[in-house]
Symmetry: C2
Subunit: 388 residues, 2 copies
DNA sequence: CTGAAAGCGCTAACAG
DNA sequence: CTGTTAGCGCTTTCAG
């Protein structure tokens, strides 16, 4: 806005002359270092020439501080005329601030870390479609607010420190860890932190889907379809409040539907397709015997695996057994049968995580908050009436 | 190694005394700033206290440069005894170098950008499973070589500049763009750059699968199965050397199999599941008429969509038509039927991209190289004999 | 409204 | 082998 304003304002001739006087000088400024580099040993590549505040200041004939103030939008401290000339020079020279210098001087980096688990054997971070979607949304949200994202796989507190302290990250989003793992990361107490889908320790903000409701919706859907022998599967063995909540909601729904507590069993499985396939194979006999007719998985990828495992065993989904997922990842629409699932808006989740974090960073809200993303049942093809 | 060596070495008392003398002092050092912040307006959060080289130098009683040399492994310039004492203090105080300061002083950031397309309407970056896999591998490779990854969605040259120059990135990996788009990004000429799956302009390194061979393998597989009416689909309308190569290889195989040139047609489709579904619906009549029996898609996600579109139209894959994908993403094993595909090792691809880039950065190989990732046919369930 | 001074934490280039 | 000197580019005081 101010740039346009300035351009159209009746500025004194100085402003426009800058546009012409500036270019030749810049060229000569560049020539020096460039020539130097050419003769130097080529083992280190020349850095791109960086137009500095000083360059602008020299051009316009003002102090570095004035330029800094204009660039940073502190227009209250600069006369419109001066601001105009500075703006013009900034544009003409293509000035881009140096983040490292700003970090050093201002103790603010505008750099946010996204910490994901880097398991030694694991294929990679971003194995979970859910995490991928949230990651993209976090990046977009940060970008729109002039921040940058550092993507980092971490396994230990040392890894965390290596990123957070070394880069003086303004804050971090932590995703994909169990409650215990988050604790083991030993995040610096003063570091603005948002935890996604895990229990936030003291002083950490948190974003998660409405897990309890999600579990309940799942239970209601399945019991409404007449299922009376239910299995919920996911990483139940790990200390995970998320899974616990979903299980609790699921059980609650079953209870309300008049089912005995033992109508719901819990299977501890990793959140992977392969884990699901294995489980599907394992439970096939029970499905065949009619002692199990519906499975609720804590993630679509897992549900897809279960459906596959069941299918490989010669069972039909949903005729012989219903399978319900969680997340509504793209995957849910890609597999056959299309997955019924508890949908959550991962794009929104990422945005909320970013907003929460930046709120913490800027001190807008001092107290770390906890946000819940709404969920909704999306019934597709993988769930159906309980077999007679 | 040296740290352990030091700990066990018969160092003079100075070394061990450091461990004790150091802690109390540090506490008082911290107390100052911390107290200050508490009374200051809380709008800006206190940065984590940063132990500096100076702190270590003061502790050990040497110059900052000596500490710097030890920390950076320039052991040639420091006596073992001094190095030992410094190492001890570094460990005791938990020193972590400040990347911003290093960047500023050394003109090297150890920060690499991964630039992905950020399309306005697009769901997000990382929409493609292939890109997700490569991203994870790049991060892991960089991490193992003490570099960090900045993930950034860009659409314009300005976006690029905003990241690259602002953060003085050591280099960038560019992925997910068409040849034209890469050109439009106007990457700084001197910036070490590796382009994944797109034509590298002058002076850019490149990583891509062996697209020509991939296309040929696809063509051979399909023609060997007796197919004589082939369709290849992908973003053919965009200027993409990758697609062109795959098409060329595919055509070559068809020709060698004795098919006329018009046996192969090309369909321009976006690389999305939805694009595939739409195409599947569109070609269903031809499949039914027997004038088309096999489809080769340039990505698994697209192939999965085509299979779905065909299925929705009441056609069977592979009985009525074969569908062949590319990449061998996880997805290929998740959908039904499981996708036959041209497999490439995306993990390796990411590693190679990172290696290539760091080679460029360190000046190891001055000339930007081009690396090719081998491909192989993985036959699963989506391809079969041509219908009689 | 504008400028001068000082320093963020680190490293190159020299001196000793 | 070790220390000194000078900045990297920017922002924060504090003076005009």
């Amino acid at each position: 806005m101010s740039a346009l304003q300035v351009a159209g304002a009746p500025v004194r001739t100085g402003a426009s002359s800058v546009l012409f006087s500036v270019i030749p000088r810049l060229v000569s400024t560049i020539a020096g270092p460039a020539a130097q580099v050419a003769t130097a040993p080529s083992s280190r590549r020349s850095a791109l020439h960086h137009v500095t505040l000083k360059d602008i200041a020299r051009e316009v004939g003002v102090s570095v501080m004035t330029v800094s103030n204009v660039v940073n939008g502190n227009l209250g401290r600069v006369s419109p005329a001066t601001a105009a000339r500075v703006e013009a020079a900034v544009t003409a020279l293509g000035y881009v601030p140096n983040a490292a210098a700003q970090s050093l001087a201002a103790r603010r980096t505008r750099l946010v870390g996204l910490l994901l688990p880097s398991r030694p054997d694991d294929t990679s971070l971003l194995a979970s479609p859910h995490d991928v979607a949230v990651t993209g949304a976090v990046e977009a949200a940060l970008r729109s607010r002039d921040h940058h994202l550092m993507l980092r796989g971490v396994a230990t507190a040392r890894d965390v420190s290596d990123s957070v302290r070394r880069w003086s990250l303004d804050g971090v989003v932590v995703m994909g860890f169990t409650d215990d793992e988050v604790r083991a990361l030993d995040l610096p107490a003063t570091l603005p932190t948002v935890v996604v889908d895990a229990a936030a320790g003291s002083g950490l903000a948190q974003v998660r889907s409405d897990d309890r409701t999600g579990g309940r919706l799942a239970g209601e859907h399945l019991t409404a379809l007449g299922h009376r022998h239910l299995l919920i599967c996911g990483p139940a063995g790990t200390a995970s409040g998320v899974v616990a909540q979903r299980v609790a909601g699921f059980r609650e729904a079953a209870r309300r539907a008049g089912l005995p507590d033992d109508a719901v069993t819990v299977a501890d499985t990793p959140t992977t397709y392969e884990g699901g396939v294995a489980l599907g194979a394992r439970i096939a006999p029970q499905v065949r015997a009619g002692t199990l007719t519906a499975v609720f998985a804590t993630a679509d990828i897992l549900a897809a695996g279960v459906a596959r495992g069941l299918g490989d065993a010669g069972l039909r989904v949903p005729e012989d057994a219903s399978v319900l997922g969680y997340d509504d990842a793209d995957l849910a629409r890609h597999v056959t049968p299309r997955l019924s699932t508890i949908a959550q808006d991962t794009t929104r989740k990422g945005h909320v995580a970013a907003d929460l974090l930046l709120g913490l960073v800027t001190g807008q809200h001092a107290e770390p908050r906890s946000e819940t993303i709404p969920v909704a049942l999306t019934a597709r093809e993988s769930t159906g009436p309980a077999p007679a």
